[in-house]
């Protein structure tokens, strides 16, 4: 019963969304150039599935690599900044300022500096999803309950031990907020990079099919992207369930 409903509800949601979309295109008589209906998209997908899947694979590779780097770097930076508050006060404003530079404006520069390979794309992904990971992890690391900090101090734990054994596990549930927001942004970052430098990936499909006025193909790419991004998001959710089962147990 629970097993059935665990699939039924998300399915119901997806079907409803599709139905709303489809009927909107019919009721308002929207042409497929502006907003294709689901069958147009299916049709576009079936025209060249291998191509689309290959490009999706390339987007996933860029996304996951960049996200991985951002998570490791973000975690380390968050640990450093929370361990050394003077450094935080000196660098966080600069970080916030740098983060606010629109990535769309940075993407062309990255191509100029790093060329046409995967590098500038990965860098853009890192840049875009680094910040939420840092902010969320910092929030988690500074939320250790006073009695647990006191415990760790009374045990004369080193800074590293305090982080690894107490502060970081405690921060995990909050860190996962950053990871969930970050993985969604990572996909977007990959797409922005690919739109800017359309050598491959679903972003390239979107921009190039736009140039050929093939809106259904662009939407097939966007749909694949949505599926892919949802899958990555729920992978992160799964990881959360595995790593922090206790968080659900102590809250209600």
């Amino acid at each position: 019963m629970t097993r059935i409903r665990s699939w039924a509800l998300p399915l119901l949601g997806a079907v409803t969304a599709l139905a709303v979309w489809w009927s909107a295109t019919v009721v308002f008589g929207i042409r497929s150039f502006f907003l294709p209906a689901p069958p147009d998209i299916v049709e576009a997908f079936r025209r060249q599935p291998a191509y689309l899947l290959r490009e999706a694979g390339s987007t996933v590779a860029v996304t996951v690599t960049g996200f991985g780097i951002a998570v490791v770097a973000g975690l380390l930076l968050a640990m450093t900044l929370t361990a050394w508050r003077a450094l935080e006060r000196a660098t966080l404003p600069v970080l916030v300022a740098l983060n606010s530079v629109p990535k769309v404006a940075v993407a062309p520069l990255l191509v100029v500096w790093l060329g046409f390979g995967a590098q500038p794309k990965i860098v853009l992904v890192v840049l875009i999803c680094f910040f939420p990971v840092v902010v969320a992890t910092m929030a988690g690391l500074t939320s250790t309950p006073a009695e647990l900090s006191e415990l760790s101090r009374s045990l004369s734990a080193s800074v590293w031990q305090a982080y690894v054994k107490i502060r970081l596990p405690w921060a995990l549930p909050q860190m996962f907020v950053g990871l969930k927001v970050g993985i969604s942004l990572a996909v977007i970052g990959a797409v922005v990079a690919e739109i800017n430098n359309p050598t491959g990936g679903l972003g390239a499909v979107i921009v190039l099919s736009g140039m050929s006025f093939d809106t259904p193909l662009a939407f097939a790419a966007i749909t694949l992207l949505a599926v892919l991004s949802t899958a990555l998001f729920y992978l992160v959710v799964l990881l959360e369930r595995l790593l922090v089962p206790w968080a659900r147990a102590i809250s209600g």
Binding site: P108, V112, F116, N197, M211, S212, F213, D214
Partner: protein, 308 residues
Amino acid sequence: GDSGDAPETSADKVTYLTAFGAVGRDAFAWVAQEKGYFRDAGLDVTIQLGAATGENIKVLSAGQAQFANLDMTGAWILAGKGQAPDIRAFAAVHQQTLVSIIALEGSGITKPKDLEGRKLGAATGSVNQLLFPAYAKLAGIDASKVEWVNAAPAQLPSLLASGRVDALSTFLIGARGIEKAAGGKKTVVLPYSEFLPGLFGNGLMASSKVTAADPDMVRRFRDAALKGLQYTLDHPDEAAQILKKAQPTADVTAAVGEITLMTPAVKPSGVIDKTKVADALTTLESNGLIPPGLTPESVVDFSLAPTA
């Protein structure tokens, strides 16, 4: 990208940037690749998809690509501002600018005068807008009575089709695509070249560093690319198919349309006539688009450009 067949040991590895993604006007590069013209010329060419003129110039300047196809008029306006001092054209693709006003039939726009009081869409900050005052003066209309709307290039057709703008200023070769976007409505095309015949359209360019270091390689590239251009004009359908094969997003019909529409403006020799360049620069100067002083030699490498 598409790197063609396995490179020969001696082949020069170069990167080429298209003018605008992967559409009909750039098909000749893939044709040259597919037909082995580049390989035969001892070149291992990687084709990258270019963006707007300015971005392509930056990439050339930074050395991330050796060659690019881009709008010569736009490039020269930038050169006049001292922003692209080391970029040289070495072959013309379009002998005249393809910038045009495009409206839909039935919109009441049939001649330049009809544009007054209308909304015109164009790529943000594009040459199309910069050239418009000159065009307007020659066409006898009041440029200040036209309202401009900036947008991303790929967005323009949908703005026109949805009625958010009354006309576009874009390359006339896009007309077929725009008709497709507008649900089959026919377009009215008013080319700028009617009043501004002396301006060039797209051309092949390189940074002066490349042209100075290996002029022979530039010639080999030029000839292979122009051979591809010739083949493309002769076989528009096959060229479009080749493009589609290399770039699955390409639309064959729109590509054939672009190729046939651009044919009248193309000389497959790629010739760049020095006096025509001088005239073009004068036109730009007299319309205040560039300060005086830009010489033909500073924008075209006449030692590399085909002369007849």
